[in-house]
């Protein structure tokens, strides 16, 4: 890169230091100042990530923006080493973008400990950017684990009635997975003498070792994705988390696990990944189909969207382990799209919850009569959630199914059931909540969305439609990286 401005550094540290600044505004008597500062920091945090896209060189698969590589802990040969390629670019932008929405979404809803709430999200945003930008195994791990702390606090402190259980369950599940990751990283260090991810990607590894490392990766990232059968923490966490927490959880936190698969599992242990890919595909299909049915049975809106997230993420892991360019690229697009759509769905549910303080589908009915503008937005996002052509959800799912078709007809066939199931649970919920006669006087008393809510829903609607109608700008930076990755995996590491 020609530029010497360390954009990645800024993307990480602007939100973190800004979060500390927000924390310094102190008690709730200064709540307004905390909100304003948080919004400014979030916008600034997004602004510094924009050049990552505009100056991104889409013609290469090499790491870009590698301004930062300096020794961090020399004793263990650990470097503070940042860089991004087509696989990670979008997640940093998405993360910075979602942070703005979260700050706005919490503007009025959060009335207690405002500064701490805002600071937790900003710090979390910076840490997550660190995960996507880290090119050193330990640096990645450190950000990966540290990002648990703010999310734990957000769920536990501002969540629903059963929040403490959900927060601890969330923390312990992911911690258990990531500690196995730590052992895998230490093992790789002992083999290669380095913690550099790029070195690991080139280092030869025997098949037996690859198998064990793959297992550790599968558990660590599978819990985070989450894959069936280790998904049970997610519905709890989602239901109890405040709206902002759910948004970040669905839009960004789940992507961390999937990102781990493309950054670690596939390139570092390609032979084991290929060997065990059918098992991962099977788990993914279970997630898509079985979890789709589970979603159908939910009576709580948030839980329903949580299960739908698991099904969608099952689609993502499916795409990755097809190991062809269509599958991987489709999965990446699906992740970005899911970032927009799930964020929008949770924000919509948040809009309803703020007014009615209930997430039960049965408490609603006929919302369209009292909140027409809201109903229109909700409709769009529900359609995107079941992958209607023209919305962002379609692009990813369709590409993955095309990729699956190349792999095997039956995998594609089973995967395609999601189109039916997704439509069934999403639209059925939509129908019960929004259509029909006004169910009770509380629904009758609802007020339509205000300026603030209109703003964030409209922005997301634009994103969803833009990506659905003209996906080229989104997929263009990925091409080279995805192709290089697929070639690398197919070539393998065994002699």
């Amino acid at each position: 890169m020609m530029t010497e401005i360390p954009y990645l550094n800024l993307a990480i540290w602007v939100p973190i230091l800004g979060g500390v600044l927000v924390l310094a505004t102190g008690p709730d008597t200064h709540a307004r100042m905390a909100r304003v500062v948080a919004l400014l920091v979030a916008v600034l945090g997004f602004a510094v990530t924009v050049p990552l896209y505009t100056e991104f060189d889409a013609s290469t698969a090499a790491m870009q923006f590698v301004v930062e590589k300096r020794p961090w802990i020399e004793h263990f040969n650990i470097y503070y080493h940042l860089g991004i390629d087509g696989l990670s670019l979008w997640f940093i932008l998405l993360n910075a973008f979602v942070t703005i929405l979260v700050v706005i979404a919490g503007w009025q809803v959060i009335q207690h400990r405002v500064a701490q709430y805002m600071a937790a999200f900003l710090i979390m945003s910076g840490l997550m950017n660190g995960i996507f930008a880290a090119l050193d195994g330990v640096l990645f791990y450190v950000f990966f684990e540290a990002s648990l702390i703010p999310l734990y606090l957000v769920i536990g402190a501002w969540g629903g009635p059963n929040r403490m259980y959900a927060a601890i369950k969330f923390f312990l599940f992911t911690l258990a997975g990531s500690l196995l990751l730590l052992l895998a990283l230490l093992y790789l260090y002992n083999v290669t003498g380095s913690f550099d991810i790029l070195v690991w990607q080139r280092a030869p590894l025997a098949f037996g070792a690859q198998g064990l490392i793959f297992l550790a990766f599968l558990v660590a990232f599978g819990v985070k994705v989450p894959m069936w059968p280790v998904h049970t923490w997610l519905p709890d966490a989602h239901v109890e988390a405040p709206t902002g927490g759910s948004v970040v959880l669905a839009a960004i936190a789940l992507k961390l696990g999937a990102y781990g698969f493309v950054r670690f599992a596939l390139p570092i242990v390609p032979d084991a990944s290929l060997q065990y890919a059918p098992y991962v595909l099977a788990l993914s299909l279970v997630a898509v189909i079985y979890i789709g049915f589970v979603a159908l049975a939910q009576t709580d809106m948030k839980k329903l969207v949580a299960y739908s997230s698991i099904a969608h993420m099952g689609f993502v892991t499916l795409g990755f382990f097809l190991v062809n360019p269509l599958g991987i690229e489709g999965a990446l697009v699906q992740m970005i799209s899911h970032g927009f759509v799930s964020a929008a769905m949770f924000l919509c549910i948040g809009v309803l919850y703020d007014r009615m303080h209930s997430r039960q589908i049965s408490d609603y009915g006929g919302v369209a009569n009292t909140m027409p503008r809201f109903a229109a937005f909700f409709m769009l996002f529900a359609m995107a959630n079941c992958a209607l052509p023209g919305t962002s959800g379609f692009v990813g799912e369709f590409t993955i199914i095309l990729g699956a078709m190349k792999y095997s007809f039956w995998v594609a066939f089973l995967a395609a059931t999601t189109l039916v199931l997704g439509a069934a649970y999403t639209l059925w919920m939509y129908k019960r909540v929004v259509f029909g006669a006004v169910a009770n006087e509380r629904v009758a008393a609802l007020t339509d969305i205000g300026m603030r809510e209109f703003f964030f829903l409209a922005v997301l609607a634009i994103c969803v439609l833009a990506m659905g109608l003209y996906p080229f700008p989104f997929t263009e930076p990925m091409h080279e990286s995805v192709n290089a990755l697929v070639q690398h995996v197919i070539a393998g590491k065994l002699p």
Binding site: H75, F76, A146, L148, Y152, G156, R163, L179, L183, L186
Partner: protein, 502 residues
């Protein structure tokens, strides 16, 4: 023997502390009115001066591990070593003691326990630790250990009107005396087999001679038992929770922090310095001890309602983790592990001292006159009462759980790295699984502080110097977590200067 002032050079700090103990005793006897304040001030002054002396020695002899008494005569000769390891560890002990005494001072004053003897005993314990750290001879090691232990027994029972305190002291004394007996018995076996008490000579004898193996191994078992007792690891851990809980919190602060550093030094000097020829045997024993400690410490801590007991069990598991580093140094067929492994254990011991100081410092902070903040429930809603100190306790708890960016993560990272490098994958997996269990009880404290409302809304009534130092302590945990390189380097250099395995 011709007298040479240089003979005393390695032990100037020890001699100085010993003389100061006597001076403070006399001074407080004569200055009755201000005895309490005077004893405290002089004790801190002594520690500061000793720290400066150690630093100067460290600076003057960079990296030399040679003992200055290579010639062979006289009783004082070869008893002590002057090396980087000793310098760094002694410095850590002074700092730990200074902080512990400062944290405890107001607590003691509120309970009329700040008698001059308290500070004298603390200083004597420090002297014992210093001797343990610099000893180069089995008997000197033993003397140092006893000097520390006897002072600590008395400190634990210092609140003589409290039955719990005296009971804890009694228990500690009886069990500690048994452990000392075991240790001495083991040493006599080593002496019987090798004919010397001098550690380098023992090391040479163990390496060269092939007969009397049984005697050596027999002695080794007792030595490992004694070391395990002092570290407080399973199965010699029974005293830890009772002593931590029974002792006044100001004493728990002392017992739980600096002696662990000294015990690490003791284990290193004895097992690595003297008996590395038997490493295959003591490493196997330590492996079992470490595994049992990590499991029992974490599982038992889950069930505790009393924060001091919880921290005691957590300390047992932490010492188990530290042993992971100590037992990964020498593996047949693998070279180059030694330095990293012992450096990781040293880093663990020092960072554990830092964390446990902050943890018990918080307990002191929350207690007021006539009220002991001993229940975990007392941390309820701390975020409401004081967001700043809730944040500091959050740092401590996440650090102990081994979550980055806190120093505890890199401590665990380093010892796990050592265990994986040595090929003890099963131990590493066990340790990792147990850390997940351990995370639960640390998270519970965070949960109480952040997710629940306080029962009492009394503002924290601790003196400003305690609040400032505790903040510094908490921030140090975070800063060392962001930049552990310096301390890791210091530990690495100290171990390297020992020229092990060369």
């Amino acid at each position: 023997m011709n007298f040479d002032a240089n003979y005393f050079y390695p032990v100037t700090a020890e001699i100085f502390v010993a003389l100061m103990v006597l001076a403070i005793m006399l001074a407080t006897a004569f200055a009755r009115g201000i005895a309490r304040g005077l004893a405290y001030a002089l004790t801190q002054l002594t520690l500061v001066v000793a720290a400066l002396m150690t630093l100067a020695a460290l600076h003057g002899e960079p990296g030399t591990a040679t003992n200055l008494f290579a010639d062979e005569t006289g009783s004082f000769i070869n008893m002590f070593v002057q090396d980087r390891l000793g310098g760094v560890l002694k410095f850590a002990v002074y700092c730990t003691m200074m902080v512990a005494l400062l944290y405890g001072r107001d607590y003691l004053a509120a309970r009329r326990l700040d008698r001059p003897e308290f500070f004298l005993l603390a200083l004597l314990a420090t002297l014992g630790m210093m001797v343990m750290i610099t000893a180069n001879h089995l008997l000197v090691l033993y003397i140092g250990l006893e000097m520390m232990s006897l002072a600590l027994y008395a400190l634990v029972a210092f609140d003589r009107d409290s039955t719990r305190s005296t009971e804890a002291g009694m228990k500690y004394f009886v069990l500690g005396a048994v452990a000392s007996g075991l240790l001495l018995y083991g040493m006599s076996m080593i002496y019987g087999a090798t004919g010397t008490l001098d550690l380098p000579a023992v090391s040479q004898a163990v390496a060269s001679q092939t007969d009397k193996r049984e005697v050596l191994l027999f002695g080794l078992v007792f030595l490992v038992a004694g070391v395990s007792f002092k570290l407080g690891v399973v199965p010699f851990h029974m005293w830890v929770p009772d002593v931590y809980q029974g002792a006044p919190t100001a004493v728990t602060l002392i017992v739980s922090s600096a002696p662990k550093i000294a015990a690490f030094a003791f284990a290193l000097r004895l097992l690595v310095g003297g008996l590395s020829g038997l490493a295959a045997h003591w490493q196997t024993m330590l492996m079992l001890v470490a595994a049992a400690s990590i499991v029992l410490g974490n599982v038992a801590a889950l069930a505790q309602r009393n924060i001091k007991r919880m921290l005691a069990y957590s300390g047992i598991s932490h010492m188990g983790f530290m042993l992971l580093g100590l037992l990964s140094g020498i593996v047949e067929g693998k070279s180059g592990l030694t330095n990293d492994a012992y450096a990781s254990a040293m880093f663990y011991a020092i960072s554990y001292a830092l964390m446990t100081l902050a943890a018990f410092g918080m307990v002191v902070l929350l207690s007021r006159s006539g009220f002991e903040a001993e229940d975990i429930e007392d941390f309820k809603g701390l975020n409401r009462r004081s967001p700043w100190f809730a944040l500091m306790m959050l740092f401590v708890m996440f650090s102990m759980a081994g979550i980055p960016f806190f120093v505890g993560f890199f401590a665990k990272f380093a010892v796990l790295e050592a265990a994986v490098a040595a090929g003890y994958l099963w131990l590493a997996v066990l340790a990792v699984v147990m850390s997940v269990i351990g995370a639960f009880y640390y998270l519970r404290v965070v949960k109480l502080m952040y997710f629940e409302e306080p029962d009492v809304n009394a503002p924290l009534a601790a003196p400003p110097e305690l609040q400032v130092l505790l903040s510094v302590n908490g921030l140090a945990i975070a800063v060392l977590g962001l930049m552990p390189g310096g301390l890791l380097h210091a530990c690495g250099a100290a171990i390297e200067a020992l020229h092990l395995g060369s």
